[in-house]
């Protein structure tokens, strides 16, 4: 079983479903029980019919489903005990920047295929899933960070980029012997995507990766 079949083959592992899409932005309705697993910068994959859209989380939102809010003055445990189904009345939304897709040959392409459909199931690529991350960051055995272009184009700033780096720091640190190659590819991608942020982003890389 391939790494992708492994992720997409378990319906119960889906963390949400597509709630809307517009341009390069996809809104995901996140199932409440998975909301805490998602972070800004997380990579999500959508199980659409053909190519599978992928993207990086830009925003996470949590609000009342019906637009009203009543203060309770309780701890989280107290609330869970008093109202076990409270999350049914809450809305958990994740906004992702559509940056990539998985093609028919199960190879990650950084670019956009067709839009997903409403209710397509969404899966999280865990920051510990080494093989899946490797396929994403190094498709065809070559480091490729061009997805950052789409990430920035859809509104990511140095702070979202920082979150992204923090999330995958341990993954990248496993490639100490390839750091020059990673850095050069990263710098090239940033220079093309967001040259005005180059200075700030390089500072983040220096600090977080320590290279």
């Amino acid at each position: 079983m391939s790494v992708w079949e492994n992720i997409l083959g378990k319906k119960d592992q889906a963390i949400g479903e597509v709630a809307g899409t517009e341009g390069g932005i996809i809104e995901i309705f996140v199932y409440p029980e998975h909301f805490s697993k998602i972070r800004v910068g997380s990579i999500l994959i959508i199980d659409s019919e053909n190519q599978k859209p992928m993207g990086l989380v830009l925003k996470l939102a949590h609000s009342s489903r019906y637009g009203t809010f009543t203060p309770m003055k309780m701890t989280r445990t107290e609330i869970s005990n008093a109202y076990p189904d409270i999350e049914r009345y809450h809305l958990f939304v994740s906004t992702i920047a559509y940056t990539s897709y998985l093609d028919d040959a199960n190879i990650v392409r950084h670019g956009r295929a067709g839009p997903p459909k409403l209710h397509d199931l969404v899966y999280l690529i865990k920051s510990s899933d080494f093989d899946a991350l490797l396929s994403f960051f190094r498709p065809n055995n070559k480091w490729d960070f061009t997805f950052l272009g789409y990430f920035f184009a859809e509104g990511a700033t140095k702070w979202e980029f920082r979150d992204f780096l923090l999330l995958y720091r341990d993954f990248f640190k496993r490639f100490e012997n390839e750091k020059d190659n990673i850095l050069q590819t990263l710098i090239r991608a940033i220079s093309r995507a967001k040259p005005e942020l180059l200075s700030a982003l390089l500072e983040e890389i220096s600090e977080i990766l320590g290279w």
Partner: protein, 585 residues
């Protein structure tokens, strides 16, 4: 052909901007270098007049950002060298040649967008500038190019020697080397390819580097000067008696009887003489003539006080001058009993008071001693070296002439007196010849160092060189104006120069003056202060297109001069022998 860059913007007048390929190193494009641009219909030749590097500030800042690790900076440089900087050069277009092979001409079109900058080659430079033929075209030196090319650019000596030209540059940049080189070429051109009239060079040789040897910055001799190499064709004078004796040069003495009040007016300010005194000079002279009939000897009487007379009588030459002067005086009616010039001078003082007034006397008493230094120069009362020189220059079978100052090289007034004396007599002689024969027999080129002393804004109208510059070109007399302060020259003089050689200059006003007739002045003036020693911008009549040249090593040229002159003499001997054998000699 390797493309080094592409035309991206600019104009014929303001220069063409070229973005260099990223593989090129901007350091290999020095200002003043010759480059080629391949347009669609034309091949262009241009000179680099500026070069630069631009980058986005933020990216550039990243290289020194202390918050970014050295490793990232290193990788940033590797990755973003294209993005970090744009390398550009600015080119002044100087010439263009159609692809259909027509004669190259001055550039009046702009290369089309994205035309390629390519390496210039020997064939192209020769096609644009011609090749040395050792007749009218003689090598001036190598053009400045991004990569050294073994090609020499010639100057057309025939054109050079027919119209006044200028050599400008700071001290020590190579003016005298170039002066000797050009003088050598003109001498050879005259020998090998003389036209209807012989050329005669008159070189005022302030530092004795034309008549004797050229020296390096430490004063060590490097090569023989042009007049020494061609000593059979030059008569070499010097004002320095020791040098004359030691180096077998002819001694030149100033005949004070030949000086006019105008000559003294020109040098008066150097001695700090008052304007009033200088204005009265004509009156003093007139009075000396009226009183004693000795107008010709006016300056002797004006300057010779008891002390000077006493000093003169202590040396045999001085004694002879006093005796001859007294002879002339005693020949005059009523002056037979005069035994002292200084005493005669006292009678003159009385007459000044009576005829010209007390203030004229005061002026005479206070100012005349300031001019007494003239009597410490090599002077004569009988010899006429000026006449000799003028004859050498104007007679068909004459010779070129150098006048070296020797130990007097820093004596500007002496230099001015001699130069003005000769120039005036030369002007008079040429005018006489024109009246007699319709035209002079020779063409004369005067090499004038520190020319602003004669052709400056104030001196231009007073000095005989001003007349020569204004009126004598059509009569075959031209000037080679050599100066380190071209801005001091009268603008009329600069506008009369048809070929200009501009070495490094730093003063803005000097650069502007030296480039007065140049095309695209705005562009060229940027590179003048950056020229290295021996590098010269040449533009004008005698060179096809403006170009920066590293002037030929004079020592090598001197060797070539010697070879050519030997070959020439050998040919003459062979011809003579042939004529003798044929009974024609």
């Amino acid at each position: 052909m390797k493309v080094l860059g592409k035309v991206v913007s600019g104009s014929v007048d303001s220069g063409v901007k070229i973005i260099l390929e990223n593989s090129e190193n901007i350091e290999n494009y020095p200002l003043g270098s010759l480059v080629t641009i391949n347009g669609i219909n034309h091949k262009y030749l241009g000179i680099i007049t500026d070069a630069g590097l631009s980058s986005t500030d933020k990216t550039a800042y990243e290289i020194i950002n202390p918050n970014t690790s050295p490793r990232i900076k290193e990788n940033l440089l590797k990755v973003c060298s294209d993005l970090l900087r744009t390398q550009w050069v600015e080119i002044a277009l100087i010439a263009q040649a159609s692809n259909d092979g027509t004669e190259p001409m001055s550039a009046d079109t702009m290369p089309s967008f994205a035309s390629a900058l390519v390496e210039t080659n020997v064939e192209e430079i020769s096609a644009f500038f011609g090749k040395e033929n050792e007749r009218n075209l003689w090598s001036l030196g190598q053009p400045k190019t991004p990569k050294t090319l073994l090609v020499e650019v010639p100057i057309d000596v025939e054109k050079l020697a027919n119209l006044s030209f200028g050599i400008f540059g700071k001290s020590g940049t190579g003016k005298t080397f170039l002066g000797n080189l050009l003088a050598g070429y003109i001498t050879l051109y005259d020998l090998i390819a003389r036209g209807d009239k012989p050329y005669r060079l008159l070189i005022f040789d302030m530092h004795s580097e034309y008549a004797l040897e050229l020296k390096d910055n430490l004063g060590r001799p490097i090569a023989d000067g042009v007049a020494k190499i061609f000593s059979n064709y030059y008569v070499r004078y010097t004002l320095d008696p020791e040098l004359a004796e030691k180096r077998n040069l002819r001694l030149f003495k100033i005949n004070l009887s030949q000086l006019t009040p105008d000559d003294i007016r020109l040098i008066g300010p150097i001695f700090g003489v008052s304007e009033t005194f200088l204005t009265l000079l004509g009156e003093y002279r007139k009075l000396i003539d009226e009183l004693f009939g000795l107008g010709k000897y006016w300056l002797w009487i004006l300057l010779m006080d008891e002390e000077t007379e006493e000093r003169f009588s202590r040396s045999p030459e001085g004694q002879e001058i006093i005796e001859r002067l007294l002879e002339f005086i005693q020949e005059r009616k009523g002056l037979q009993s005069v035994t002292s010039i200084a005493r005669l001078r006292r009678s003159f003082e009385k007459a000044v008071k009576e005829k010209l007034g007390f203030s004229a006397l005061q002026s005479f008493i206070s100012q005349a001693p300031k001019l007494r230094k003239i009597l410490s120069y090599p002077v004569t009362i009988t010899e006429d070296h000026v006449g000799e020189i003028v004859n050498y220059l104007t007679e068909k079978d004459g010779a070129h002439v150098t006048i070296s100052l020797g130990k007097y090289e820093k004596e500007l007034p002496l230099y001015m007196l001699v130069a003005n004396l000769i120039a005036r007599r030369l002007r008079d002689m040429i005018n006489k010849k024109i009246l007699e024969k319709g035209e002079p027999d020779t063409k004369i080129i005067i090499f004038l160092e520190e020319a602003h002393n004669f052709l400056g804004r104030t001196t231009y109208r007073l000095s005989p060189f001003g007349d020569i510059a204004r009126e004598m070109r059509k009569r075959g007399v031209i000037l080679c104006v050599i100066d380190q302060r071209p801005s001091e020259l009268d603008s009329d003089v600069i506008s009369m120069l048809w070929t200009n050689f501009v070495f490094s200059l730093t003063e803005k006003s000097d650069i502007e003056a030296a480039l007065m007739g140049a095309p695209q002045v705005k562009l060229f003036k940027k590179l003048i202060p950056l020229l290295r020693n021996r590098e010269v911008l040449v533009y004008g009549e005698a060179i096809k297109f403006p170009i920066v040249i590293s002037v030929k090593d004079y020592s090598e040229a001197a060797q070539r001069f010697i070879q050519i002159i030997k070959q020439h003499n050998k040919k003459i001997e062979e011809r003579k022998k042939m004529f003798r054998e044929a009974g024609l000699l």
